[in-house]
Amino acid sequence: MNIEKLFSRASEKGVSDIQVYMSDRTNLSIEIFEGDIDKYEISDTKSLTIRGVYNNKMGTFVTEVLEDDIIDEVIDTIIASAKEIDSLDDAIIYAGDKEYKKLDDIFNENLAKLDVKKKIQTLKDMDKFLHEYDERMSVVETMYSENTNKVVLKNTKGLDLENIANSAYMGGSVIVKDDKDQRVGFDVLISNDFNDFDIKKIAKEIADNALAALGAKPVPSNNYEIVFSNGALATLLSAFQNVFSADAVQKNMSLLKGKLNEKVGSDLVTIVDDPFMKKSARSRSFDDEGVATAYKALINDGVLNTYLHNLVTAKKDDVTSTGNGFGGSVAAVNLKMESGESKLGDMIQSMDEGIYITDVQGAHAGANAVSGDFSLQAMGYYIKDGKQVRPVALITVAGNFIDMLKDITMVGNDGKLSYYGVTTPSVKVKSMPVSGS
């Protein structure tokens, strides 16, 4: 689409300011099932998100049709929307910041250049390794996915920004079986440097975890000490991240409302948003509104330091945007709970009677970001006198996320970037209700 033409037509029709956000994504996905290529996908898609201000209201149009002949339709629709919108929010198109951080480690040219045959071979090696690892290995799938995302932002206030990042994940999913039971295992590694994909290490972890879970049974319903693995905590933090959004706070939908500078977690809890994280395809030097992104602590040693803001929420609270205006609302870039000093083994050993939870499921329905309550399916190991006794499955663990932050007594040194895009260590929590047999 001819952007100059879009801008001048908008101005002729009375749109005071307009912004386009162009996204160009390419993807390669490969899956190997039982030694053969089961999925091979390539794609290249472009889209434009166009936001225009008319009578101080914001209309939005997203299009994958990029021909000039839809320009009038786009502008007319934006104007029609703006006429009906009666929200009291200001409509702001941003003129830009003085400085944007230069990020040179989020796009790795070598990743895209690497021959696809090498990627396929690595997956096949992993498949073979898993099959030969143990005779109880029943079904094996290995997968690789690689994304490049280029973003260009232009507006009538003179802003013209560009960001390009790429990333890949490689991992596997297995089903293991013995006479009595069947268990699954899954994990991925995320990086934009192919050399980081130590497939034997991750394959071994996936296999060991699945095999160790064979014979898992519920424990009696009771309150137990809990250690969440880094992966299990990632699911929880990801499900509750909206509590940090100033938009949620202003709409009375966050339990952190009115808690700025108050203690909301134990001293051991520090949660940051790091938009400059290396090797993350989410990393950005500017948000969707054109505001420079910034590293910031949301919770610092247990104290709530700031909410996440976009231009509109910041103006309402009379603060500056934190550079978290994404997707028409507010979101973190790379949410990270800082690692602590404890070893996972020491945390497990410190429990008299507890559960080491390796995975929680069903967070999309069983975790309520407004009330903070969760009750989720969990699996892991029963721990007695500091020792791992047996695998556990089909239990639920219930609690309130905000209460839980206060009850964290140990934080692991094992921070890991998860599939959900958040980085978390394992943690120990005082006691939580578990439902089982």
Binding site: V62, V139, S221
Partner: protein
């Protein structure tokens, strides 16, 4: 037409040049809008337009996929050619000429989304907002969403299929938050349809607004749910999500064909108690999960999944059908052109039994009445599932007692079907969005009220009666 027939044929041919035995082109043109009001004020009016082409090539059970939103003939042919390099075989498969373009005629709509003025859409939001916000003073936030979606698809393949249809869907959801004393709880209610805007004339918009507020208020003053194993009566309509999660996903060829389902190799065997009949029907007129064709271009069908407790049919797509040596069942679906299609549910439900809800409650000394369910998930690999209860009540001495919040139910799909011991006669379906391998798609869940003899209930309160 979305692309010239000649170009489609060229793409199909190019795809077969390296020895693949099947090629398919999926073209999609889509317009959607989402309106959101917060505290009665219209905050968002987002419109979107998408267009894309997906090309799939297969040889036996191996398939590859590519997509783009380019309309340029050279780009599209190059895409097919690049993709075909995955295969290398001198034996070429001859393409069957495309049949006369077949246009899907079922599921007609009266009022298309683009024929409705934005003003009139906003009035619908207002109606629900007013009903919800005036329900009670503890309601401190109400959000209403109105979505419409018009998807035009054209599907052609090397076996001569050449079909097109336009699918329209509309939906309205209201969510309310009740707050008191530093506590907050949410409730939501809504409905949707494969009809056009005429649907909102029959929908009880105020009723759903009030219902969202009622649930939020009820849950605000509810006790934490006790934990433990107990009988659970799962109410009708959205309660059917239990079958959807616990069994439906594990009956999709996606997992069955790879021997990755607890129900692999179980066709013809007893997998449920005698009183269970389960159906997946993609042909119900204007239903949320219906269509003329599946996303491989074959007619949608009605599939009896379980008959009197015996596994009767899986849901099968083309490629997994090859793996299983079975015919596809018209079950292949995808969110949009960005996904390769695979076997998915459409409108899935447990059929009526001959008990009544009243009898079930009377017959239960102690347990949980799950009146409204939230969503859930399953791991088809071993059948372990979970789902959350949005509105629950304890049952004591055959009577519904106090409301309880925060309940989750967990169990195993292979196991739970045998534990259904009563089925009522009040079958209803409800709208849902189902996420899986080929993206997020509209699907109905449904059931009459059922009783499960014993299931693990997880809540914050320590167990005991």
């Amino acid at each position: 037409m979305l692309l010239e027939k000649k170009l489609i044929e060229q793409i199909l041919d190019t795809a077969l040049e390296t020895g693949a035995d099947f090629s398919e082109v999926f073209i999609e043109n889509r317009n959607a809008s989402v309106l959101q009001s917060v505290s009665g004020r219209l905050e968002k009016s987002n419109n979107s337009k998408s267009f894309g082409v997906g090309v799939r090539i297969a040889k036996k059970t191996q398939s590859v996929y590519a997509y783009t939103n380019s309309k340029n003939p050279d780009d599209l042919i190059k895409l097919a050619s690049d993709l075909s390099k995955s295969f290398n075989d001198e034996n070429k498969t001859e393409r069957t000429p495309l049949m006369e373009l077949e246009v899907g005629k079922k599921h007609q709509v009266k009022i298309k989304p683009n024929e409705v003025a934005l003003k009139d859409k906003v009035k619908l939001l207002q109606k629900s907002y007013k009903a919800a916000s005036s329900y009670d003073e503890v309601i401190n936030q109400v959000m209403v969403y109105l979505m419409d979606d018009q998807q035009e698809v054209l599907i052609a393949n090397s076996e001569g299929r050449f079909v097109t249809e336009t699918r329209v869907r509309v939906r309205m959801m209201t969510s309310a938050i009740a707050a008191d004393n530093g506590m907050m709880q949410t409730g939501s209610s809504g409905d949707g349809s494969g009809k056009g805007y005429e649907f909102f004339d029959e929908m009880d918009i105020e009723g759903h607004g009030k219902e969202a507020a009622r649930i939020a208020k009820t849950m605000l003053y509810a006790d934490d749910c006790p934990s433990g194993v107990m009988p659970v009566i799962i109410n009708n309509a959205f309660g059917g999500v239990i079958f959807h999660e616990a069994c439906g996903h594990s009956l999709e060829a996606t997992s069955v064909a790879k021997n990755a389902s607890v129900f692999s190799g179980k066709k013809g065997t007893k997998i449920a108690s005698d009183i269970v009949n389960a159906i997946d029907d993609g042909t119900i007129e204007n239903a949320w999960g219906s269509a003329n064709y599946d996303d491989e271009g074959y007619p949608q069908q009605r599939r009896v999944l379980i008959k009197d407790g015996v596994l009767n049919s899986y849901m099968i797509d083309k490629i997994n059908g090859r793996r299983m040596n079975e015919e596809p069942t018209g079950s292949s679906r995808r969110q949009n052109y960005k996904f390769s299609p695979t076997s998915r549910m459409s409108n899935t439900f447990i059929d009526n039994g001959d008990s009544t809800l009243e009898e079930m409650i009377k017959d239960t000394e102690y347990g949980l009445f799950a009146k409204k369910l939230g969503g859930g998930s399953v791991n088809p690999g071993n059948g372990d599932f979970n789902f959350s209860v949005m509105e629950g009540y304890m049952i004591r001495d055959g009577k519904i007692a106090e409301p309880v919040k925060g309940a989750a139910l967990v169990g195993n799909g292979g196991d739970i079907l045998h534990k259904i011991d009563m089925i009522a006669n009040n079958l209803e379906r409800q709208r849902g969005m189902c996420g899986s391998a080929s993206g997020s798609i509209p699907a109905d869940v449904g059931q009459p009220s059922i009783r499960v003899q014993a299931i693990t209930v997880g809540g914050k309160k320590k167990g005991a009666k």
